[in-house]
Symmetry: C2
DNA sequence: GACACACTAGTCACGCTGCGACTAGCGCAG
DNA sequence: CTGCGCTAGTCGCAGCGTGACTAGTGTGTC
């Protein structure tokens, strides 16, 4: 028993961590477009801007995401230029690992209907910002959730259907139409 | 100066607090149906049950909601029966103030489209659990969000509409249909 | 020239949420 | 009588959202 790795093993130390949250991924994806500093990101993800219409991150969240991403090696500080008319301004950029993570994330469809509203839309928007074709993601998403949507729609047939099922069916129809029409 | 209340004043102690969160209101509403203890509430609001299909609260959340509600005077402990085959089991019930708060909450439509999915549905479900007629709430909700929904739908006319606007319009149509058909 | 104001940049503190893990009492099967 | 599983409730951690705070750097006004 002594020669067996007692617990988990030694190579867990460089584990990728508990997979970044949506907030982190959005920040990472935007940083992957171009290097930027926290305040600029916060402006871009604030209530007013095009990404902010889908997910909004307040300033403290942005800086915390930056800290986590930097700790995970997905981004790194580039310059700490004292810049003209600006106090500190630490600029970050995505590392190779970060770029890979973003590409993988953008290619993957979301797993649940409830994730379409924010996560899927934000992927579409980011692809659009990069000038990438969303066709593949859309196809993958249709494939991933098509059966689920059909089921939800079918569950609302007949009389005396539960309010929740009725709601979900209506919603599923709207989503299915969106996925069919988009692209 | 000694006879003056130094700080905020004596009548702030029973202030209503910063208005309960959705979690708290759901717990309060269920407690207002019948006295219960935390574990039973957690079972009722867990992943499997009818309310759990709309909002799910894990056990720690339930107990924290209970603490807040009790601190705010909206519920109170009734019995600490050592019960048969059960360790402690503190039973809570809603106070008069709690009942008033629940009634007010259930009567009021939600303010944003994004609140329909969870908050509005949960109100409908709770009304249903009580055997109350949802007609008034539905009417109020149509009145509150009808114009917004019309706007969202109208924003998707024409060509080259933004993905987000397209999504919202689809969604708004589904919601409008739900509100029209329900009840 | 002095002073208030606004903008950029980043940080702190507080409370809520979600999740996994923990204690502890009791009944029951082997 | 040991271990398993259920009931009941608690703890701790990390993430999220908000509001408020410091601290530089202009800019307009008297």
């Amino acid at each position: 028993m002594a020669d067996q790795p007692d617990r988990i093993g030694p190579d867990v130390a460089r584990a990728p961590g508990p997979s970044p949250s949506l907030n982190d991924l959005v920040v990472l994806a935007v940083l992957d477009e171009a290097p930027a500093h926290g305040f600029a990101l916060a402006r871009l993800l604030g209530a007013g801007s095009d990404l902010g219409r889908i997910v909004t991150l307040a300033r403290p969240q942005v800086y915390r995401s930056i800290d986590r991403l930097a700790a995970g090696g997905l981004i790194e500080a580039v310059t700490v230029e004292p810049g003209d008319g600006a106090p500190k301004r630490t600029v970050y950029t995505s590392t190779d690992g970060g770029a890979v993570a973003v590409a993988a994330w953008l290619a993957e469809p979301v797993a649940h209907v409830r994730d379409l509203r924010v996560e899927f839309l934000v992927k579409l928007r980011i692809l659009q910002r990069r000038g990438s074709d969303p066709a593949e993601l859309l196809a993958a998403q249709r494939l991933a959730l098509g059966p689920t949507l059909d089921q939800l729609i079918a569950a609302a047939d007949g009389d005396g259907v539960d309010v929740v099922d009725r709601w979900r069916a209506n919603n599923a129809e709207a989503v299915a139409r969106f996925l069919a029409d988009a692209g």
